[in-house]
């Protein structure tokens, strides 16, 4: 079939032409930089002088530790602090925003008045929250003395303001404050869940109702499985994004990550090392570690996905 193959060839050529912007991007702004970052992670470089290859030294500093009178002393305690903070934030904020997102989406899935109005209002914050302007506002809201949040807490619980959490000024409460901030932008997830909910065939609910299934039962047997592909997609995306939190933390902690390194997340640490302390090799090593963490976490999620994610085909059978 000679004509077929030339047609195919022609199609392939035009496909690659259509893809050309993407291919340029992939090679020059993605794969190239990743390889460069991997190489730089084995080097010492301040961005000005020449690059020195130093083998594994950066990674040795990062992971190295010694033991003094029974205490582990890390060579780079800030790396471990940033790792801990990033995980802390992700583990708390991802499930919380997801559960809230699903709950709100389910409430909106009822046929009630003003749905599009609600949808707009709940979605609006996630458009605004990544901006610097609102990070500044949140910083004030969390202010221990003059912030709105402690005013409310003290108003409702009658605890004096002095004894309310100090939020951003306290190593214990600074990360919960960031998590609370993240809850303000549940809207982006909610929109996707809402779309997912509306794609679940009504017939499935009807069948379940005829079988006498309670609301809760319906939720477990129809809603959750039907929504699971969307939840899965959102889970992966939100974990990746929350590992990369930067803007809010930068503004809130003046780029320092305090108090006591409690808001020093990985990306902030990478930024500090690269652009404040000019250790570009070490910063690249840090970002390679971040890359591996994200890849492993995504791989685990895909591995266990078939245990709980149902695609429509399976559902219908």
């Amino acid at each position: 079939m000679p004509t077929m193959s030339t047609l195919r060839k022609k199609e392939a050529v035009s496909a690659y032409l259509f893809l050309s912007p993407f291919l340029i991007w992939l090679v020059f702004l993605m794969i190239g930089p990743i390889l460069a970052a991997i190489y730089l992670s084995f080097c010492r470089w301040n961005g000005l002088s020449s690059i020195h290859f130093i083998g594994l030294a950066n990674y040795k500093t990062m992971f190295g530790f010694s033991i003094h009178d029974g205490h582990i002393s890390f060579n780079d305690p800030r790396f471990w602090a940033s790792l801990y903070n990033t995980f802390y934030y992700t583990i708390l904020s991802v499930p919380l925003t997801m559960v809230l997102g699903v709950v709100v989406a389910m409430m909106m899935d009822q046929k009630i008045k003003g749905i599009s109005f609600f949808r707009t209002i709940y979605y609006l914050p996630s458009v605004l929250s990544s901006g610097v302007a609102f990070a500044v506002l949140w910083k004030w809201i969390f202010n221990a003395r003059s912030g709105l949040l402690n005013y409310f807490i003290s108003f409702v619980t009658t605890i004096p303001i002095d004894q309310c959490p100090k939020w951003l000024a306290s190593p214990t409460w600074s990360k919960p404050a960031l998590v609370i901030m993240s809850c303000w932008s549940i809207g982006s997830g909610m929109i996707i869940y809402l779309a997912g909910l509306q794609n679940i065939p009504q017939a499935l609910y009807e069948a379940a109702e005829i079988d006498g299934a309670s609301r809760w039962r319906q939720f477990l047997t129809v809603t959750l499985p039907g929504l699971s592909p969307v939840i899965f997609f959102n889970l992966i995306i939100s974990i990746v994004f929350s590992f990369q939190i930067f803007n809010q933390v930068y503004i809130i902690s003046n780029g320092i990550g305090g108090p006591a390194n409690s808001t020093l997340v990985m990306v902030l640490y990478i930024y500090q090392k690269a652009f404040q302390y000019f250790q570009l090799g070490y910063a690249s090593a840090l970002s390679c570690v971040l890359l591996i963490i994200i890849m492993v976490s995504t791989w685990i999620q895909f591995k266990y996905a078939n245990k709980w994610v149902y695609y429509e085909g399976e559902l219908r059978k």
């Binding site: 032409l17 060579n75 221990a144």
Partner: protein, 437 residues
Amino acid sequence: MKRYFRWISTMLFLAFVIVGALETTGCGKASSSSKIHLTISSWGGINENAILSRMIGDFEKKHPNIRVHLERVPYNNYVPKLMTDIAGGVAPDVIFVEVGNFANFYYSHALQPLNSFIQADPNFKLSAYYPQEIRHFTVDQQVYVVPRDIAPIACVFYNENEFKAAHLPYPNDNWNWNQFLYDARHLTKRLPDGHTTQWGVIDDWTMIEPWIYSAGCQWVNNIEHPTQWTLAATPNFLTAIRFRRNLITKYKVMIPPASLSAIGGAGTSDLFINGKVAMFISGIWRTPPFRHEIKNFKWNVAMFPKGPTGIRAFASGGSGYAILKSCKHKQAAWKLIKYIDGVKGETLLAQTGLAQPAMMSVAESKAFLDKLPPLNKKMLLKAVKYAIFPPLATNFAEVENGLVYPALDDVWDGRKSVVKATKQIRRILAKNPPRDK
């Protein structure tokens, strides 16, 4: 086939035309060929930049062939931004340098040695400026920065009305830690239920320097060529840290950090302005807002108290102007620096009360020692002798802000013992020796 090529190339062309068009509108630098263009970078506040703009305006009138562009970078981003600019080959011609970030610029080999300009210029006297600061900006006999101001962080601003009300004498030159503590305790007011209505003291930001220096500690073995951190090597460190912690946790005369506003440390000076705290430790640069905003009480300034063994010492800020090696019109840049940092510029600066001029004659003149509060400003002329500049190590900022201060954050709340924190700091410092590249 051809059509596709044409189409794709048209698209790319379109894309670049759009970008290109934006480019020319976005950054059109007037390039009238006959004129010399200089760019000067500063982190100055409103007052400072107003003076700078005025001086630049005058300079341009005197030198019609030179145009000067002032660019401001916020203080927090200043070093990162400038270093990136230098690396990217788009650095300004003249930059503002501080004693604290001098090491970064010096070791990036970006600064132009100024000796040849100084020697060739009979109108310029380096000896007019504070020798201590000149020494700090000199490496291997080469001067790199012409100082603008010197800023010993030795100022204890105090509320005279509160001292009077508590029947305390105003602090004098023999003030020591114990008297300071006595005063702070008597200036703190509490309700019967333990709620504090007025605090004794607060520092501008969490600062350990005045305490550790006057307890007899040094950051490094040699400020100009540091090879070792000596900060926590002696028990004096424990004394200093304990004293500051006790102000917070034991005597409860200093506001605990967690109660402070989280807004960039800016909130602490408001507390003094509002009369919520009777003493405020900072530098002289706090004067203009205090003059403007304090209406209800009289205030003055005292030198930071002597330590337990009679040592008087504190950190010092200070800044000046430097020319970058990449500058194409170094002679014009030198003229600019000389002009804005000359007697007139220094006098204007002194009159705002914002800074102690680095030019000694102006610092000792009526322009600085005026009749406005704080009247005891003259103590700064003596304070210069006790001022200690930051060590010349490129990783000093990282070690100080990234490692030592976070390790102490838990001490101030009383959640970690001073001994434990000291051990931790010793280990950290041993692992991160001072670097010079």
